[in-house]
Amino acid sequence: MPAAAQPEAPTAVGGAVPDRGPWSQAARRFLRNRTAVAFLGLFVLIVLFVLAAPLWADNVAHTGPNETHTLEKLTIDGEKRDVVNPEGQPIGPVGFGAGGKFFLGADSRLGRDEMVRLMYGGRTSLLVGFGSALITVSLAIVLALLAGYYRGWVDTVIARTLDVLWSLPVLLIGLALGVVLAVGGLKIGPLELSGGSLWIPILIISFVTVPYVARPLRGEVLALSEKEFVEAAVAQGAGPLRLMFGEILPNLGSTIIVFFTLTIANNMLFEAGLSFLGAGVQPPNSSWGTMISIGEGLLTTQPLLAIIPGVMIMLTVLALNIVGDGLRDALDPRSKVRLEAHAGVVEPRGASV
């Protein structure tokens, strides 16, 4: 009889110390971090803002992001005004003066609605950031697991290749790829992409940012594969796939979540930089980077055209970075020190290659 009662003993003790798993403990720690929660709220607002793009476009602005209104006139307080004046200057922000049309004015001599473009452009920027981060992190996980688990020549090849890629000027490589693929399009096996496809910037950014995630992950896999639980699994006869994906991968969970958040932020900045240079998202599609590029030409007369998308990028990136740091503190409280590596996934870089 006592033997049957024994297994229940731990739960009885658990009554005094609330029985919580590590994830719910982490969630509680995160919620206690007011700054991180506030910036998570800001990020949610930004996502809602860009998701509302079609609603605003159809019901308030009555135009699409790429529709031009060069020769049209607006009636504001009974006064008729050109969307684009004869000198080619677009109209500035009019608020609700024209019933919500051209809320932030027009974008250029093409007379497109800046507010609608800002919302759709945000969708593009977030989509590129999110999509490329997903690919970056997935590739990095596979490479890190292979290198850290098999070691030997597999590790040498992967680690050296990552070192070389990592030491190269990413923006320049991205620019070269962006221009070449925008001109030529891409064909990998059955997959064929035209030059204007959104997949091209997504794939380019995923490719060049892999080393930033794969290098630290590889280090962690190396450390984890020395642990007793891996040895125990080997003793049970586990094969390489089960060891890599069943034993080691789940223990990378918290690191991956943090890296994923920070990589979205980093990749969004990268997209903005590439698009600003004309090698990212291709016209007529808008992204916050292309909008800055267009607005920069009209800086003297309409400074907000360049500044507003820039502020949107900054807020989004800042929010993601702070949420990422908050997640790191919550998931691994011992890692307080690492808070210093704040600039995206820029980690202090040791001597390498």
Binding site: L168, G184, L186, S352
Partner: protein
């Protein structure tokens, strides 16, 4: 030390080869369209495309194509086609502006980054530290393509404090050179100032707990001497590596965006303008030279690092 340098230089040559192959693949293999058409540009005549095809030998085997591309780039035969301008010459013309921008920005970010980091560390936990932490995080978070339009609009157009864009050679007008570069320098430097001050602060806080600092205090050194001679000195070693890598990355990265924002006629602006026109030969040249420059700087940094920290050249470093 000699053996370390030799080993490092051999490593560098291998990386240079890998980089040149990567650039070759980017331009000649990855894209999905006739290569001569791509090089010629959007409005090229069939005659031009035909002549480019023969000039570059696009029917040859890939290794042969690789060799002829490298030959073109390194013998100065690479030209843009509309209009026909040698790529090498334009890059050389752009180097003074690009180096002025990068070196000046580097000096500024190192000076302010270390100053803020040092003050932050010796006042750790105090209000000054908190203020500087806030300033650093704000600096890290502002992207250059937001900072530059704001600075240009308010300081150049509104109050006309600084001249509007362009590069003035230092040999012609040193003062004009300086005033034209102040805003670009700070635009590039702000992010790194924030980042470096954070890194130095945390390095110094770590170093303060070391035994040699306690020893220095115990033998009666003044607090200032402990901080500068022992804590700061040891915290600067990792900054050397960081600075070398970031300097290379700036020349071939942030500088491109900044040169475009301020219309500085450097190598970066050349690449940016070529990108807008979808002109490939200039981008090919800039990418290859830029990547080579970065790899070269990285090798120098490693050698400097090994000189400063003997553990590295003896191969006993934790890294």
């Amino acid at each position: 030390m000699g053996r370390f340098i030799a080993r490092r230089l051999v490593g560098m040559l291998v990386v240079l080869f890998a980089v040149s192959v990567l650039v070759f693949l980017i331009f000649n293999v990855v894209p999905n369209s006739p290569p001569a058409q791509r090089l010629a540009g959007k409005n090229a005549t069939p005659v031009l495309v035909k002549s480019i095809e023969e000039e570059w030998g696009f029917d040859d085997s890939l290794p042969q194509q690789y060799l002829s591309m490298m030959e073109k780039v390194f013998t100065g035969e690479l030209t843009s086609y509309e209009p026909r301008i040698p790529v090498d010459e334009t890059i050389v013309e752009g180097i003074p502006a690009t180096l002025s921008l990068s070196i000046g920005a580097g000096v500024i970010w190192l000076f302010f980054g270390l100053l803020l980091g040092y003050v932050s560390a010796i006042r750790a936990g105090g209000w000054l530290d908190k203020l500087l932490t806030g300033v650093s995080i704000a600096g890290i978070s502002i992207p250059v393509f937001l900072l530059a339009p704001v600075l240009i609009y308010f300081l150049t157009y509104k109050i006309e404090l600084f001249p509007n864009g362009g590069y003035v050679p230092i040999t012609e007008d040193p003062w004009g050179w300086f005033t034209h570069l102040i805003l670009p320098w700070f635009t590039v430097a702000v992010l790194s100032i924030g980042f470096y001050s954070r890194v130095l602060r945390s390095n110094m806080l770590d170093a303060m707990n070391e035994d040699y600092v306690r020893t220095a205090r115990a033998k009666g050194l003044s607090e200032r001497k402990v901080m500068t001679r022992h804590v700061l000195r040891n915290s600067l070693i990792p900054i050397v590596t960081l600075f070398g890598l970031d300097f290379g990355a700036t020349v071939a990265g942030t500088a491109i965006i900044t040169e475009k924002l301020y219309s500085l006629q450097g190598v970066g602006l050349y690449a940016a303008e070529a990108a807008e026109k979808f002109e490939l030969p200039p981008i090919m040249g800039v990418t290859l030279y830029g990547a080579f420059f970065v790899v070269f700087v990285n090798a120098l940094v490693d050698i400097a690092y090994a000189y400063l920290d003997p553990r590295v050249r003896l191969g006993t470093s934790a890294q």
